[in-house]
Subunit: 337 residues, 2 copies
């Protein structure tokens, strides 16, 4: 069982993941400086034929029994789950002075394709839509439980973005507390809503669409732009034009449109920057705030072209060596086909 | 002139560093995946003989004129400064909806030794003390100006920690606003002080010293431990036993003792983990709060043995794969000589 420990100096939570824990000596730097890889030799637990390695939670397939080949998207429990559903939820203990709780939650892997050697950028838009449908299904299933307070869907692409398995996959984590950064974003949006009576994100969107200089894409239901205060070069935000606090409430047509714009931006980054490492994160309201008016769900693509160093870790201030107005031009001029 | 832009969705500031800005195409991933290096060929601007590359702000030397060899610690303006002293301080503008200010501040490099191929762990404790004396001198000089609200001193050691120049150096940044994370830490400490009438950090220290299990070092004036909610494997905090909000107010004897414990911990990490990449950050009170009772300056060593991935960037929750209670045993058992 992993454990959630709270840093009393910031009130931020940390997951101590004993399920994937390493012994101290396993952190000794190896000579070639390659990060530890959980991929065992050539065996890939996500490839067709290896379905029995992890039973599926959900799969899209035409025929055949569960945990057999024939699927095109497959969702599994993460074998090295950071959080686990069995345990006492949200009960705070103290170890001496220090608060902690059991590491309860859900940690799933969305295997995006049966193909080992590809990436979201190189798939079809249709396949990307199927993956987003899987996200939404899992989101809607997991939000039924009162135990989970927030759902974080994210992707690590490439070694510098933290991937340990090459087979294309994304991840979903349901947490028993609202993460600090999620709460912060909501608090800021709520404050704006109270002050001005409008959704902060809708205003951002309005101004980006009017200024146009950082805008990189537009579709019937979405816009994509490089934000004014980009933390990282080529940081990209994709926002729905229709106000909705939760990704879980997105409709079918919007989902298809979301797949198209996300796919296009990932392809442009792929072609413009030679398959850069990146993370993306889907920001959505805490589950108890899904119906409130002050938040707008959105997706952030965070290319990992630079290193997060001491100043960033110590102050929270990012030093960005690229102008979003310039990277936006570069991406607008890049073909996505 | 660089610029400070505020993300209205988090209120966090970002530095858009036009002085070191790259054109968009310079971010294209190269085949060998080596990060861009500002080191030009074999020329090192920090090596003796190359002093004219950057005029010094401070140097410890026995004889000889400024900007000549003979020094053992030398402080320079950062050639690629993220912030620059000339400009209008703390005047907020808006570009459309979006707040920004001129990138005013100070960004200095502390060249830790004339030797190119060494590191803090391999120097003498005496040399480490000299470096800390340079930190304190610069700190005391810069806090005279009302323009600077906070001073962040940090170090990037190794490629995964964000170093671009190999010659041992640390950095100092004085900011025209209090960084978000600094303010957060202070707000939490202040709240604790208001609630309980005690310094939060003194309480943390008291409990770590009583529990002993995460303690890795103790000296007349300092203690070092792996914190209960460690975000990263082998994360190490060094705290003074005597309550003091600001590093700037540390005495000579304490500084020597600080050098000894910092050096010992860096040596242990060096020997135990085979020269791991790491950052360290000196956390100290905002300059206007230096005399208040509720904060305690301290140093955090952040080894970069794992990758900060999408979940961390999206939620603020770190997943740590090591138990601080175990890494503490490992470090206690490692010799520092």
């Amino acid at each position: 069982m992993s454990v959630l420990r709270q840093d009393v100096s910031t009130n931020e939570w940390v997951i101590i993941a004993t399920e994937r824990a390493k012994r101290p000596h396993q952190f000794v730097k190896t000579r070639d400086d390659t990060p530890n890889d959980t991929e065992t030799g050539t065996f890939c637990p996500f490839c067709p034929g290896n379905e029995t390695a992890e039973p599926e939670v959900l799969a899209f397939r035409n025929e055949g029994p569960p945990d057999s080949p024939g699927w095109w998207v497959r969702v599994l429990r993460n074998k090295f789950a950071a959080l686990n559903p069995n345990g006492t939820t949200a009960h705070l203990w103290e170890q001496g002075f220090f608060p902690y709780m059991e590491g309860v939650g859900v940690h799933e892997v969305i295997v995006e394709t049966p193909e080992h050697h590809t990436s979201l950028a190189l798939m079809t838009t249709h396949q990307v839509a199927e993956i987003l449908f899987a996200y939404r299904l899992r989101f809607r299933e997991l939000r039924q439980s009162k135990a989970w307070k927030a759902i974080v869907i994210f992707k690590n692409h490439g070694e510098r973005a933290g991937t340990s398995l090459r087979h294309p996959h994304s991840q979903l984590v349901a947490t028993p507390i609202v993460p600090h950064d999620t709460r912060l974003k909501h608090a800021v949006a709520e404050q704006h809503y109270d002050n001005r009576g409008t959704c902060l994100y809708c205003e951002i969107l309005h101004h980006e669409m009017a200024a146009k200089i950082r805008l990189v894409d537009q579709s019937p239901s979405f816009a994509a732009f490089h934000p004014f205060a980009s933390r990282l070069p080529f940081e990209t935000w994709i926002m729905p034009l229709r106000h909705k606090a939760s990704f879980g409430n997105i409709g079918d047509e919007e989902l298809h449109d979301f797949a198209a714009i996300l796919h296009r931006q990932l392809r442009k980054l792929h072609f413009a920057l030679n398959d850069p490492d990146y993370n993306f994160v889907l920001h959505t309201a805490p589950l108890e705030d899904e119906d409130k008016d002050y938040y707008l769900w959105h997706l952030q693509i965070l290319p990992r072209l630079t290193t997060i160093a001491g100043f960033e870790l110590g102050s929270g201030i990012y030093i960005n060596t690229a102008l979003p107005e310039e990277t936006a031009v570069f991406i607008r001029e890049t073909s996505s086909v």
